[in-house]
Amino acid sequence: MMMAGPAGAQDWFKTGTGLGVSKARVAVPDFGARTSAAEPLEKTFHDVLWADLDYSGILDLVSPSFYPTKLPTQPSELNAADWSAAPASAYMVAYGNLSTDSTGLAAAGFLSEVQSPAAPIALQKIYRGAATEADARRLAHQFADDIISRLSGGLPGIAQTQIAYVSTKGGNKEIWVMDYDGANQHQLTHLKSIALTPRWSPDGTRIAFTCYVPARGVVSAQICIYSTASDRLIAFPRYRGTNSSPAWSPDGSQIAFMSSQGGDPEIYVSDADGRQLHKVTFAAGVNTSPAWNPKTGKQIIFVSDRAGDPVLYLANSDGSNVEKVDVEDKGYVVDPAWSPNGQLLAFSWRRPSGNFDIYIMDIVSRQIAELTRDAGRNERPSWAPDGRHLVFESTRGGTRQIWTALADGSMPKQLTFEGQNESPNWSPR
């Protein structure tokens, strides 16, 4: 059919869409432990790998009870027919082995397609690290990201991302950071006051947040920036009045934030080091919670109560062309978060009936979908860099905790359990 391809083309393939796509069915048997020291790490490695792949939202994992009795640990041991046949009916198998030596832990990971036996191995890599639980987790995250990137067509996974949030676990409200699956929670700031609204810079090296640091005996809300690379606060100017809710431009060169230095709370934009400050909103009332369009950097969404209740407004990043984003009935619409592909907005909305739930909106068509319902207060969504996951705070378990879910609202998962935890922000890749 396609013999008459353009000259110079190496290979052709034809495919199409129109009826939706099914998820790829992947089997993940236990990894083989080659040395006795690797045995305890194997369970960690396999559990983390399974959880990562299961939570990716694009794969369908084959239940282990369907697996053949002989599990492969390297390509020569893989019997493709056993895996492709019912009941496993797998499309691909992810397998491998773990071994330890004097240099540390080595995880050999393989991904083979079992439906067409002639196909070469899709992925074979050796991941190296120290022989510790933490590194076994890290290697499993790396292997999971490699698999997800290949099976989703180039959209990398989020298994190695982190979430910054505000926690009272240490007594004060401080910025904490954890892995995307809730592991490895650790405190970042020790300001012994109040820290709020953390936001990762697009390169992941800095976190801007609202801090209450006294200066000359006066405590006021200011913008603070914490460098995760050098583990300390870096300089940002102080301004009069209340300054809060910073947001990074997608190239990381500018910061938008709310400031009442001119009397009325308005949105200001400055360079990342605080220079070139200028005002972009000029309306009576509170203007706050800016978020840049991460795809283009040319638009800002923010919350304003200029017309009564707080609702969302869309403007160009220089403040021109302000447009109200209408929602069908009244209520508070706050905490806008822009999806990485620039097409969707997530926000929390308190409708007149009283619920506080997460909604997402297609910006072009203004179509709205509700993601949470009848499960406590759900607020402050933030998108994962793959656009498939959301993190938010919820009181559904009784206390205010951090939850994640797929961006269609399915598979909610609680990440934090101790203290009060709020205002999560997902790191870039």
Binding site: Q10, T15, S116, L151, G153, S353, V364, S365, I368
Partner: protein, 261 residues
């Protein structure tokens, strides 16, 4: 004495009957009143009785796989039958028109028409004839694509360098298909369009996954459908880098879109 006792007994039965009647009458009244006062709360979902629920599955833009849609088999009729399926007898619609009275003076034709001979096929169906529709699942592709092996279900390929990309790297083909399918937003199509003929687009994937030369090969005849297909391809740029052990410098793709609301 005995008769006196009987009379007193009769009297006592009468009073208890009276009280019983009064008690049951009271019970019935209570029942009516209670049925009147029950179900007096608010209806579920507010005054209209309807709960507005946003349909999450219809939200475009989230790069999650859309659920697969079952299609009816257009090639084979799977109903069980004998060697051939018999055509359904024609049902004559009842005619309520009054017949036109015949013109009596017409003479009947002189010749008589004879029924023509029907040639019966004397050959019996062979012993191993498969009953019509009873042959099991056909192996031909009848949906737009399938997730199976690369050589089936609409994934065709041919290479000028003798390559067999589709069968060697079917995981890559499926991944490309999934990515573009997730980025194909039906809201970018004119809402008045319910169905559009197939759009065929072609593009090249370079070694690092960059998409180039995206163009429409066969238009659907509708500009907004064509544009949404092109957007789906360009939004997926860059794709996954080509497999490491693949020797060529680029792969050309023909991708079709079947639009149906």
């Amino acid at each position: 004495m005995a008769s006196h006792a009987a009379i007193r007994n009769e009297l006592s039965i009468k009073t208890s009957l009276y009280y019983s009647l009064l008690f049951h009458g009271g019970l019935v009244t209570l029942l009516i009143i209670s049925s009147f006062y029950s179900h007096r709360g608010d209806l579920w979902g507010g005054p209209g009785g309807a709960i507005q629920v946003g349909l999450v599955g219809s939200v475009p833009g989230v790069p999650l796989p859309r659920p697969e849609v079952e299609t009816t088999n257009r090639v084979v009729d799977e109903s069980k039958g004998l060697y051939k399926s018999e055509p359904a007898p024609k049902v004559q619609p009842p005619s309520d028109a009054t017949p036109i009275p015949k013109f009596e003076r017409n003479k009947p034709p002189k010749y008589v028409t004879r029924p023509s001979k029907v040639l019966e096929n004397p050959a019996k169906p062979p012993e191993n004839a498969v009953p019509y529709g009873g042959g099991g699942t056909p192996t031909v592709p009848y949906t737009s694509f399938s997730m199976g092996a690369g050589t089936q279900g609409g994934l065709g390929f041919s290479g000028t360098s003798g390559g067999d990309f589709g069968s060697r790297y079917s995981w890559y083909v499926v991944a490309v298909q999934r990515r573009i399918s997730m980025n194909w937003l039906q809201t970018t199509v004119d809402p008045s369009i319910q169905f559009a003929p197939r759009v065929v687009a072609t593009f090249d994937i370079l070694r690092n996954g960059t998409v180039t030369n995206a163009q429409i090969m066969q238009s659907s005849g509708n500009a907004s459908v064509d544009r949404s297909a092109t957007r789906a391809i360009l939004d997926s740029n860059p794709l996954q880098a080509l497999p490491n052990d693949y020797s060529g410098s680029k792969v050309s793709v023909e991708f079709w879109f079947d639009f149906k609301r």
